[in-house]
């Protein structure tokens, strides 16, 4: 129905990708949102503990991971831009680069988890760490799922499954990945920086 995106003057009825992914995105944003607000209001009850524990986090690792995810998202955008011009090879390259960055996120995050694990910190240590570990682990699982989706997309690009005319599936997966990015953009200042 709305294949000709670029030249139609009016707005699209639906956002890019399969609409199902938007149901997922809205639902996930809701879940994360409640988590964020629970954190924020739990913090307001116990500012000292949160401020003290926050200093024990590795802000540099968090910031690097933000840059990594933002850049990865950007690469996915470029990959779709390439597909829109039927440049399959380029698209695949961008996509694999995005996957590479996503993997870096995983490595850095695992390093952070490991440091905390090594210090004997668990979900039951205190309220701050309960939230920190819950939210970042929940997000971490999203990154892993996102990487699986991106990998599927990268192989499909190679197989020539996406073209300038037909790449709905790619926009669907890409938007999941952007959602993962978007959530982290809020999570990073909330947990690592704001005090």
């Amino acid at each position: 129905m709305q294949q000709t995106t670029a030249l139609t003057a009016g707005k699209e009825d639906y956002p890019p990708g399969d609409f199902v992914i938007w149901i997922v995105i809205y639902a996930e944003l809701l879940a994360f949102g409640i988590f964020f607000l629970s954190y924020a209001f739990a913090r307001s009850q116990n500012v000292e503990l949160f401020n003290a524990s926050q200093l024990e986090l590795n802000r540099t690792a968090g910031a690097i991971n933000t840059l990594v995810l933002i850049t990865s998202s950007y690469f996915v955008v470029r990959s779709i831009a390439a597909i829109r011009e039927n440049l399959q090879k380029q698209a695949a390259r961008w996509m694999w680069a995005a996957i590479g960055l996503g993997s870096i996120f995983i490595v850095i995050k695992l390093f952070e988890f490991y440091t905390k694990y090594d210090e004997g910190i668990t979900l039951s240590s205190n309220t701050f760490y309960m939230f920190y570990l819950s939210m970042t682990f929940f997000h971490f699982m999203h990154v892993i799922l996102g990487l699986v989706i991106l990998t599927i997309m990268a192989t499909k690009i190679r197989h020539g499954d996406y073209t300038a005319q037909e790449h709905d599936g790619m926009e669907t997966g890409a938007n999941y990945w952007h959602m993962v990015d978007l959530v982290w953009i809020i999570l990073f200042p909330l947990v690592y920086v704001i005090r």
């Binding site: 709305q2 399969d18 609409f19 199902v20 979900l123 039951s124 669907t172």
Partner: protein, 144 residues
């Protein structure tokens, strides 16, 4: 819904979320099993307590009472009965023993189970063990 909404994507969403959230649940379960020794009073589980749990189960106590809030709501909560009875296993035993065979006219009554001395001691020990589980401050009052 227009064709912007395809069945194959809906199917992917279903399988994706099923697997994703089950794995997440397993991860949390793993952490829970690591954290439980701190809370579940497992060092108090003697053979007597274990026997008490069997007595509890084989007389279907949960068919009237609740234990840590779960069960029926016909008779009092027993998760804290040990403390409610003045930290006394004897009081629990005496109560169970003294139930009249034919009940109390017009009122709810606990059946007389004719438990052996050994079983009585065991079930009281079990209830003491249960009362010492760290249930995050529940129940709200001594009355359960």
């Amino acid at each position: 819904m227009s064709e912007k909404f395809t069945k194959s994507m809906a199917r992917n969403m279903f399988y994706g979320s099923a697997v994703f959230f089950f794995l997440l649940f397993l991860a949390l379960t793993f952490d829970t099993s690591k954290a439980l020794p701190e809370r579940d009073n497992r060092e108090a589980i003697t053979t007597e307590v274990a026997r008490g749990k069997t007595v509890w189960e084989e007389n279907n106590c949960v068919g009237c009472h609740s234990l840590l809030g779960e069960g029926a709501y016909f008779a009092p909560e027993l998760g804290n009965v040990y403390t409610r009875f003045g930290n006394s296993e004897e009081a629990i035993i005496a109560f169970i023993k003294s139930r009249p065979q034919d009940g109390i006219a017009g009122r709810r009554s606990m059946p007389q189970f004719n438990l052996s001395e050994e079983d009585l001691k065991a079930v009281a020990a079990f209830l003491k063990y249960a009362s010492e589980i760290d249930a995050a401050g529940w129940p709200p009052t001594i009355e359960g």
